[in-house]
Amino acid sequence: MQPTRPTEHSRRNVRFLALPLILAGCIASKSDVTVLQQDIMLVRAEAAQSDSARRQEIQRVMRSMQSLTDSVSAVATRLTRMRTDMQGRFSAIEDDTRRLQEIAGQSQARMQELRAAVESRTSAPPSSASPSAGAPAVVPGPNQLYQLGRDQLLRGSTAAARTAFEDLLARYPESDVAAEAQFYIGETHAAEGNVQEADQAYARVASAYPRSPRAATATYKRAVAAEGARRTREARQLYNEVISKFPRSDEAALARDRLRDLQ
């Protein structure tokens, strides 16, 4: 049993040596904790600083975003206002255009009357007049003939009106009022109830003067007459012709209505 004594002794020594070590260990841990705490605080401070900077950055970005949104909104408002303004201006321009068209139309009518008046005062003798024929015959001008035809038509003298218009076309086929004269020849036939002759005269307006606004009117009238005579297919074709060739005309608007009713 003797050999156990050194073991106890050695155990005592170990305890003796371990105690300072433990004590030393305890002392080192405390400072470490302090350091650690300092580190943590430092880290926290840094994090807080970082957070603050980030928050500021975010706030800055948000302010920028807000500013940007406000700008976009302002631009949108301005655009809307501009669009409304433009629409208003376009509408005003359209109204002005319409008024100008009315004035132009009225002025044209007046000009027509003035031209007729001037022609009636300055009518020249015909170039083919025989010198031996005595007093030279007076040749009316195109506007004079046109005015004469319109006056006769207004009075209900359709045959006299037609004679004036036909005379105009025979003498002055290139006149500014030739398309009008051809159209009113159709009107004289229509007033007399001669549907077929009216249709032919109107067809001549569209074929001989396709660019004249009267072409739309004449074609539309042909379509209405065809519809009235129950020639529905022909009526549809003529209404469609008005719409395709003169899409912005009043006749096209009326033709669309008629086509809708025919379906």
Binding site: E102, I103, G156, K221, V224, E251, L254
Partner: protein, 450 residues
Amino acid sequence: MIGRAIANGIIAVALACVLPQIAGAQQRPEPPRGVRIGLSYGAGVKPGIIVMPVEAVPGDSVRTIIQRDLDFGDRVTVIALDSAALRGLTPSAGRRFNYALFARLGAAAIVRIAPVAGGYRAEVHDVTGKALLQSGVFMVESARLSADWRMEIHGMADEVERWVTGTRGMSRSRVLFVRGSDVWIVDSDGASQRQLTRGALTLSPAWHPNGRTIAYSRYGEAGTRIELHDLETGARRVVRATPEGLNITPAFSPDGQSLAWATAREGGTEIVFASLANLALARRVTVGRGSDNTSPSFSPDGRRIAFMSGRAGQPEVYISDADGTNVQLLTEFTYGGTSYRASPAWSPDGRLIAYQATAGGFQIMILSLRDRAVKQLTSEGVNEDPSWAPDGRHLVFTSSRSGVRQLWVIDTESGRLRQLTHAAGARLSDWSPHLAPSLSSETNAANSPD
């Protein structure tokens, strides 16, 4: 003998009273000798007419109506002489008038009316030609002094006017108008005024050419719709083609086959047509592009319409073909101007269009279609909604000149005015065509409206 002496004395007194007044008429130059037909008129002088007393009951009423109708016609001057004095100048059977004496009284024509079985015989004597000019028998079937009896006497007066002047008178006609919210009717001379509708707001009455049917805009749960009203039976029917909303200012075509009116569409008001044979289908005839287009009025041949449109900004009067083409601005357009023109009415002879225009308040204008010359007819008060009489010479319109709105009639040639209605608030008048001889049951319908 004593009676004859008294009669001669009366004649002498009458001549003494009248001769100074007709001195001007006696100084007219003698007409050129030669072959001629009808009466001779001096330039700008209306022929004088003497209507002889009517020897029947109610002769005084007949004579008064005839005299007033001729006077309202504005084509002759009625020389109003006392019946007692004129009775002495009436020739006995088989004898002639003392034309020389009547010529000295200023008469160019003598009208004599005598009762015959079932009516009256009317004669017009040419004083200058010293002969009977024309005569005819007029059957009068209605109860004496009734509204229809008066119409029949008016018809006789119109024929007499035609014999004398060549133009038929307009007294056998009636005028529709609105008072309050109801349609009323009155004879052309202001008599027999009566109410036709009751209850709902009715506007814009218009005559059918047959003088029996009328149309108007009537307010109901579905807005204002167009209704047709038969004056003989009192029957009414709604025009099916009028949609819910606004439907106003109806007008019949002269052939009586179609009806036009203004209907609200797509932000504006357009004029549409419907055949009376198919009132379910209405077709647009104006292209207003959002503007208001109302008040259609047909030309006498039915091939054109005049209407009011705001397509150029302010309302103006336009004319177009009845199919909607060939649109022309009729009234003078002033760029930037604020005045406007509305309520066109095409004259029965087709030469003129009457309308209202702002000229110090609304005034009545007429425009000649031939030369576009405009004539202002009124200047006092506010004057609106002209409508032509069937003679193409007179207009009925609404005027505030008496302080309240009333119907007045103006002679477009002379400007002579007469007041047609006397109770307050009459407006939106429409003058009938010449009414057909047989309208005996119209009164019944008129007296039992709705």
